[in-house]
Structures are given as C-alpha cells and as structure tokens.
C-alpha cells in the first residue's frame, strides 16, 4: 500500500512508494516541483505523515524494513532526525497526535504492537510500547481530536491542560480498538469494536465540529466500510452503521477537514465520496474513477490559477 499526504496548508505533498523513497513536492498553484527525495528506508515505504507546523517542518515515514524515520527540514534541507527501530516486523501506519498534546507519533506494526514516540526535547524521543495490541498485526492508527474537559483556562505557568488522549487502531484480528491514556501514563484498551469479518485496513477518526458525538470510519478486507458513532461524552457506547459493502478490498478512508465528507478508496478502482444527510443516512455523492484511457470530449480550461 502506498500513500500520499498533503501538508497542513495544502502547499506540499509527501509521497512514498515501493522504491523506498519518500518524495516531497511543492504543489502550489497547481504545480508539481520536486523539493526533496529522501532515502533511508530499506524496504517499501507504506505511509507518511506531516506533523503540525508549529513544530517545524517534520515528516514521519514507516516502512517494511521495520523502521520509522522522522525527517526534519533545517535550513532548507531535509534530514533524518530520528530513527525508531523498536519493531520486529513491518511498520504499517504512522499518525501524529493533535498538536495540543505535544509532538507524539503513534506507529502500528505487523508485529502486533503499537509504539508511541514522544518528543521530550533536545533531540530525545521517549518510547512507550503497547504489545499485542492486535494479534497478527496492526494496520492502521488514527488519533481522536483533542477535547479539553471543562473550560480552557489560561495556565500562566505553562502547564498543559488535562487532555484525555485517545486513539483508534485497526488490525488483522478484524477489530477496531480504542486506546486511552491513563493518569499514570500507561495506555489501556478502552473499547473493542467488532463488526468486520476480515482484516481492518484503515481507521479514521473524524475531526470535531463541536458536537458531543464522536465518529470513526473503518474499512476492511471484507469490502465493508463502517461508520461508528458515540453519542455520550463518556465514550462508552459505540454503534456501527454500514456505509456500504464494496465488491473488493477497501484500503483507505479519509475525512475532509470539516468532517462533512468521507472519501473511500477501494480495490475496485474507485474513490467514492460520502456525505451524511440530515436524517442520518449516508449517501454517495461522487465516484472518482480511474479512466481507461479514452477521452471523448475535452473541455478547454482557459482558467489558470491567478495570483
């Protein structure tokens, strides 16, 4: 599985592929200029993730070579700033936590473990590992949006408010699991969401739009995409809704930034866009399909991006 990710502002795109490289492009104004070609992995690179810009220009990549590499741009050049080798098997997914929590990276691996790297300063990263998170392997990780319990009062001494950190993971045990950080800093499995009948390929926790509900999308080898919603603030009852059953593996699900559209990409050569309607039904609004090469009419596009 290969990946591409836009940075926060939509100005840069990072792509990774089986040729072991991570490429960064400048995509402003519809252009496509290669900025960097990062080499360091010894196997196909599965996923890339941009950190929040307040930490600088930081990119994480994970690969079949069991490594997670964190790259940083210093003085205009991209360099490897950290390498994490704590896994015994391919690392399949990386996801940065909401910036409010600090610089924290979650990594899911085929060895069934999930590791959490926290930047503690001076180039040091602290590692916490959740062993046997999923039997056989973990395929995807996705963080919940930051929600502050109570009101956000200014803390003049610079203390961070008490966030409840959570993330979701999907694995080869057909399960979606929700993890929560306890007060002692240890991570505990909070929920087990069962609905899929085959490997869970991707999970995506929807951005928050201020409503008390939480929403997670999961997709699987069994061709199904489920939307999980939790209405109560304590986060205890999750109910699944089947979005659609596709005819082939569904690889990737992703929410638009205001969480009003879910994009789903599957093995049937399509990317479909889905939107929730007022009465809670999910409707497919578009099919972005791969062409077979022929174009019958062409519309002249006189518009170029203007400054």
């Amino acid at each position: 599985m290969h990946d591409a990710q836009m940075d926060y502002y939509g100005t840069r795109l990072a792509t990774c592929s089986s040729d072991r490289s991570v490429k960064i492009f400048d995509v402003r104004n519809g252009g496509q200029i290669l900025i960097a070609d990062l080499r360091g992995h010894e196997g196909p690179v599965w996923q890339v993730a941009w950190a929040h810009p307040m930490y600088g220009n930081i990119l994480a990549s994970c690969s079949y070579d069991r490594k997670v590499i964190i790259w940083k741009e210093e003085n205009g050049t991209w360099e490897k700033t950290h390498e994490h080798t704590g896994h015994d098997s391919s690392v399949n997914s990386v996801c940065w936590a909401p910036h409010d929590y600090g610089l924290i990276l979650a990594c899911g691996s085929s060895d069934g473990a999930i590791s959490l790297l926290t930047y503690t300063g001076e180039g040091q990263w602290e590692v916490k590992k959740i062993n046997n998170a999923h039997t056989i392997g973990c395929n995807a990780v996705s963080w919940a949006p930051a929600v502050v319990p109570g009101s956000l009062i200014d803390q003049p001494s610079g203390q961070k408010p008490n966030y409840i950190k959570k993330f979701a993971s999907g694995g080869c045990d057909n399960l979606v699991k929700l993890w929560k950080e306890e007060e002692d800093g240890q991570w505990k499995e909070e929920q087990k969401l069962e609905a899929h009948s085959d490997w869970v390929r991707d999970v995506a926790w929807a951005p928050s739009i201020g409503l008390p509900t939480s929403t997670i999308a999961s997709c699987s080898q069994d061709g199904r995409v489920f939307i999980w919603t939790c209405d109560d603030a304590s986060g205890n009852t999750w109910s699944p809704k089947l979005l659609h059953k596709f005819n082939d593996v569904v690889w990737h699900v992703s929410w638009s930034i205001t969480a009003n559209i879910l994009a789903v990409s599957g093995g049937d050569n399509k990317v479909t866009l889905w939107k929730e309607s007022v009465d809670g039904q999910w409707v497919c609004i578009s099919d972005v399909n791969k062409g077979q090469g022929s174009v019958s009419t062409s519309v002249t596009e006189g518009q170029q991006n203007e400054q």
């Binding site: 003049p156 866009l273 578009s286 022929s294 174009v295 519309v299 400054q307």
Partner: protein, 711 residues
C-alpha cells in the same frame, strides 16, 4: 461559472409532512495534466415530487460544451429497494416505504481521470484544505514529464474552480458587501419599508450580476483565441440566465406583485432580457395601429383599481373582436393576424414564433393580450401551457425552463434545488436563499430545513472561498452569519491558511482575536514563533511566543538569548527585552532574562546599589539557572571592586554562600580530560578571584557598618 456537466453535493433534506427526502449533488472538477478531462456524467437526484428528472447540460447553447447529455436512467423499484437496504438496517424503513414513489435516477456521478495507469489497482488520495488531491501511485512511464523523470502523476480535483476567475472575483467581492449589509440592517427592517428595502437589496445583487456580465462580454469580444472567446460567451449566457431567474424570483417572491402590476413587472422582465426581439415586435405593432394601443399602454396599476382595469380592458378587447368579425381587416391578412394576436389568439401568436425567443416571452405576450389582470396564483397554469405550446412536443424542457416553471409555481424549494444542480458554484443559491430567508419565505414555505438550508448553502459557499489565497477573507464574514456551524467551520478553515507573509499572519490573527478564538491564536503564534527561531530571528520568536502564551517556547528562546549573550557579550533585540512588562512572568527563564537585562541597565546608569541587590536576588530567588550563576558572580566582581562599598555585609555573606554552593555542588561533566583540566584552571582562578574580592568587600562592609553608628 459553468453551465455544462458537473456534479453537485447531495444533501438530503429531512421530512416535512408530505415532502420526501431530497438529494442534491456536489460537483467536483477534474483537471488533467495532459489537458483532457473527464467524460461521463450520469447524474442522480432523488426527487421529492413526482416531477421528472432534469436533464443535464447547460443553459443556452451549452449542452454541447462537453457534457454528455446522457439521459437519466430510471432505476426500477427493485433496484431502489436493494440500494435502500444496503444503507443499513430497519432504521431505513422510511426509505423502503417511499422507495417505490421516489425516482432515483441511477448511479452517482462518475468522474473519470484519463491517462491513469489502470493496471495498477490502487489509487491513493488525500484531502487538502478546500480541495481533494488524487495521485497515481505508480510512476507514469509513458508521460514525458518536464519536471523530474519518474514523478508520480498528480491530479487535483478542485471543489470550486470559479474562485479563480478574475472577472467573477468582482462578483464575489461586491456581493459580499451586499450580503453583509443585508445581515446588518436586519434589525432595522420593519413594517412597510421592509419590503421596499429588500427589493432594493435584490436589485443591487442583480446589478452586480449585470456588471459582471457586461465585463465578461467585453472580454469575450476582445479575446483573440476563439476557444477563450467561446468560453467567455458561454459564461455570459450563464450569468444572463442567473439574472433572469433572480429577476423573476424578485418579482414573484420579494416584490410579491399583485394582479395588475404583476403583468407590468413581467413585461419589464421579458423586455430586459429579450429587448432586441421586443423592439421588433413593438415596431410591428406600433406602426400599424397606434391608436388601438394607446388606451392600453396608459394602464399603470397605481391610479386605477383592478376592476377598473379589467373593465377597460374588456371593453377594448370586445372592440377588437368586433373589428375582426366585421371583417374590417379582411383586405389585409397581415392586419388580420395582427388583430388576432391582440386578441390573444394563441395560434396567431405561435405563427410569429421566430419573433418570440422562448416560451416565457410567449407566456407574457399571451397574458398581455388575453389575461392582463392575471393573478399570481394562476400564473402557473398559463406558464405550463405556454411551455407546452411553445415546445410543441419537439423538444424537452431544459434546466432553465424547469427553474422558471418552479418559480411560476411559487415552489421556492424546487427553484433552489434545481439551481444548485445546474450551476457549478454555490454563489447564486447561497445569496438568493439568504435573501429569501430574510423575506421570511423559507419558513412560510414549510421547509423542514427552513433557515438551516440557508446556513447549509452559505457554509458550502464560504468553504469554497477558503481555497483561494485572498478571497478567504470574504468567507470569514459568511461564516460569522451562520449561527450553528459557522464558528467551528471558521476555526477549522482559518488554521489552514498558509501564512506566507507577516502581514497575512497578522490579518489572520486579528480575525481570530476579534472572535475570541484563543486556541487558533495560540496555535498560529506558535507556528510563527517556530518559523522565526528557524530563521534565527530571536526577537520575533520571543514576541510570538509571548503572544501565544507559550511558556515552554519562551523559555527556549530566552535560553538562546542568554547563550548569545555569553558568546557575544551583548544582547540582541534590547528594545524587546526592555519592554517586556508583565509578559515577563510567562516563564521563569524569561523573567530572568528581563531582570538580568535590567541589572545591566541599572549598572549602566550607575545605580550600583540597586544593581547589586537585583543581582543578588536573581540568585537567591532561584530564578537564575545554576548554569548562569558563575556569570552572575563574575558580573558582581566590578561591583565588589568599586571604591565605595556597594554590597552590605549581609549581602556579601549571601554571595559567599552562593559561591560555595556553586563550587561544592559541581557535578562531574563528561568532558574530555584535557579540556576539563583547562576549564578547571580557569574556573579555579575565577573562584579564587571572587573569594578574594568577597573577602575584601566583607571587611570593608563590616568596618563601614560598624563605624556608621559611631560617626
């Protein structure tokens, strides 16, 4: 604006008594690197009424500009049920029950991306702010790329391309002013003048559309490239159609013209849009029988009542009929047909079809001659029959026709829906719906969504603006006037604006601060502070971290400042540090930095006693980091060496204690031995000097304090 095939967002409206759930589609565009774009458009709309589905294609001559005019395929009942069931569960029973009545046209719109390596199964994608990016995962070996060989093939699917049009930008800018003005005067809109003011607002919007049309028309004429010219012309026709629709809505929904004036408004409406042809007709009519027309043209509604109007007209009508029957015009078939026209004879009118551009022109002409005092509620009968007669079964209605028909039927809901489907940009429906909402029409038409529909459309429109590097500022105001989700949408969008210049950053910050979006302010300031540190602009970094109230970062930057001082012996950005004020309290390190600088200032002003106590307090209060103590003690040396005694005995004891503290508790650093020995040497010398100076000062202080009492 595009009149040709696109896709639109579906949203389903909730139930409203007999209303069924609706769906609309959002259109996304696909632009290929090789210039070609996608093809197919099988568009689907789940309808509320039993109205037939609209075809796709643009207004005017469009249809041919790229959109496949694929007829919509009606799904059978069985297919409907299957689809409904797959949406999951018994909760869907509403769908199932209504499934048979609904007409689901088929599959959602398909966008094909040409030139993609289809042998590779998977296509990856990612969302960008405002647009979706799709990229091919395998390298496109066929394409000779100019950039770097072997680049993946990237497609950008934009949600809204119209924001990039230079001319349309004026439309967006000016209509934004009208929109904001309307929201602001809402409270002042009362009583009788309310309607007049709303009509004025409507006319303002229309004049903006016309201005844009004019400009685009000029550009179309001036364009050298015929393809460009054609494109601009089609945009002109779309704008014209928009103005046509808006004008009709103004007459029927906002002006709410009663019978009598209604026809006059409609006459104006038609004249405005078909003026060329109307002139011809007027010539034909006017030249033949001016006298017969005088009495009619003198009938403006205000001075006479409806009944008086009707009577006059009846009288005139009967006179005409008599002339016809008497064979007054028998000698001239031309005059005879003219008379028939004036009597509203449909057949005669239709004979002059070339002069009538379209069915609504035909409608108004018909009404003019047969039912000039038509009431608004009766309009749709005539409209429908006019449409049928005019088309004569040869062609089917186009989207524009359906929209106008819906307006004549006073079905606002349908008008908005059809416009949403036909147009490529949310501009039109968002502003029109907002205005109609101010006219309190959305509630009165019993829509379940009600004013929520207004908000929905405004949100979609505003989101589209955020994709643009400067139009996003307009979007902010639109979000402000969306009470439910406007704020959170703004919060999510505003953080994604690239802060390419300091001015832009300040602009964004101001917007956030005005709305008390403290989280966003903090986040943006942190980003800017980080940027500044990376560019070695410490002063800027410090001020951003103060604004972000980011203690950790402030500490980091303060450390850098102190390190700089140690290396260079002077401070940079003195102004900033001197004027920290209460911000100094943000972090201990920052406080220390500020106080330390104050120490230097006091020293420079020769206020040695104050400087001395400050220096001491920096150590005793533990504000100073231990690593800095040596520097501080060294700074104390000149004060100890002064002629007059500055440090009191008490203070000297304190200093000595600090020194001993420092020297005794020194941990072993992992430095190479040679360096350490050398450093130790320097350190030892320093310590010795200090001890000596302190001892001497202590002696002098004791003597001074002892003798004070004596002298």
């Amino acid at each position: 604006m595009r009149g040709c095939s696109r896709q639109r967002l579906i949203w389903q409206k909730g139930y409203c008594e007999d209303r069924l759930p609706l769906a609309q589609f959002s259109l996304t565009r696909c632009r290929g690197q090789d210039g070609g774009t996608r093809v197919e458009c099988r568009r689907v709309v789940a309808m509320a009424e039993r109205r037939g589905p609209c075809g796709i294609g643009g207004f005017g001559p469009a249809g041919s500009t790229g959109g496949a005019r694929a007829g919509s395929s009606l799904a059978t009942g069985a297919e409907l049920e299957a689809r409904a069931r797959s949406f999951g569960g018994p909760a869907n029973s509403r769908w199932l029950r209504l499934g048979a009545m609904e007409e689901l046209d088929g599959e959602p719109t398909v966008t094909l991306i040409p030139g993609v390596n289809s042998s590779k199964k998977q296509m990856c994608f990612d969302w960008g702010p405002g647009e979706m990016l799709v990229c091919e995962t395998s390298f496109n070996k066929k394409e000779k790329s100019e950039t770097v060989p072997g680049c993946p093939f990237i497609y950008i699917i934009r949600k809204d391309v119209d924001v990039y049009s230079q001319i349309l930008r004026k439309l967006f800018n000016e209509s934004h002013g009208i929109f904001v003005g309307l929201q602001r005067i809402e409270e002042e809109l009362t009583g009788k003048s309310r309607k007049a003011q709303l009509v004025r607002v409507s006319k303002n919007y229309r004049s903006v559309i016309r201005a844009c049309m004019e400009e685009m028309h000029q550009v179309a004429i001036a364009a050298k490239d015929p393809a460009c010219s054609c494109q601009f012309s089609s945009q002109v026709s779309i704008l014209s159609a928009m103005e046509l629709i808006w004008n009709l809505c103004e007459i029927l929904f906002i002006e709410v013209a009663p019978a009598g004036p209604l026809l006059l408004h409609l006459l104006d409406w038609v004249r405005l849009h078909v003026c060329e042809v109307d002139n011809l007709l007027a010539d034909v009519l006017g030249s033949e029988n001016p006298r017969k027309h005088e009495s009619f043209w003198k009938l403006p509604g205000t001075t006479q009542t409806l009944t008086e109007l009707e009577l006059k007209w009846q009288h005139w009508h009967e006179e005409c009929e008599r002339h016809l029957q008497d064979g007054t015009f028998a000698s001239s078939p031309h005059l005879e047909s003219l008379c028939k026209i004036m009597l509203g004879d449909e057949a005669a009118l239709l004979e002059q079809k070339e002069l009538l551009n379209n069915w609504y022109h035909f409608l108004v002409t018909r009404l003019l001659y047969s039912h000039p005092t038509v009431k608004p509620i009766d309009l749709h009968f005539y409209a429908q029959s006019s449409l049928d007669l005019f088309l004569g079964g040869e062609s089917s209605p186009e989207p524009l026709d359906n929209i106008l028909m819906a307006a004549f039927e006073f079905d606002i809901h349908q008008v908005i829906k059809e416009c949403s489907i036909a147009l490529s940009n949310w501009w039109f429906v968002a502003h029109l719906t907002d205005l109609l909402d101010h006219c309190k029409l959305l509630q009165s038409h019993n829509l379940y969504f009600g004013s929520n529909m207004r908000e929905f459309l405004l949100l979609e429109y505003a989101s589209g603006l955020f994709a643009h590097h400067s139009l996003w500022q307009l979007g902010v105001d639109y979000f402000d006037y969306c009470p439910e989700l406007g704020r959170v949408s703004l919060e999510l969008h505003i953080e994604r604006i690239p802060l390419s210049t300091e001015q832009k950053a300040l602009k964004v910050l101001r917007i956030c601060e005005q709305r008390q979006m403290t989280e966003q302010v903090r986040s943006i300031c942190k980003i800017l502070a980080m940027k500044a540190v990376r560019n070695n602009r410490l002063g800027s970094a410090l001020s951003w971290s103060i604004r972000a109230k980011d203690a950790a970062f402030a500490t980091l930057v303060s450390d850098r400042f102190l390190r700089d001082y140690c290396e260079r012996g002077c401070f940079s950005d003195l102004d900033l540090i001197d004027n920290l004020g209460p911000a100094m309290m943000l972090s201990d390190r920052l406080t220390f930095l500020g106080k330390y600088r104050e120490f230097h200032r006091l020293y420079g002003e020769k206020r040695f006693v104050d400087a001395a106590s400050l220096l001491l307090s920096l150590m005793t209060s533990q504000i100073a980091p231990r690593s800095f103590w040596m520097t501080l003690l060294t700074d104390a040396l000149p004060l100890l060496e002064q002629k007059q005694v500055i440090f009191s005995a008490e203070q000297t004891y304190e200093l000595m204690r600090c020194l001993e503290d420092l020297t005794s508790g020194r941990p072993v650093h992992g430095e190479p031995d040679a360096q350490r020995l050398q450093d130790d040497d320097i350190e030892t010398t320093k310590v010795e000097m200090l001890r000596l100076a302190l001892a001497r000062n202590l002696a002098r202080a004791i003597i001074k304090e002892g003798s004070l009492e004596g002298s």
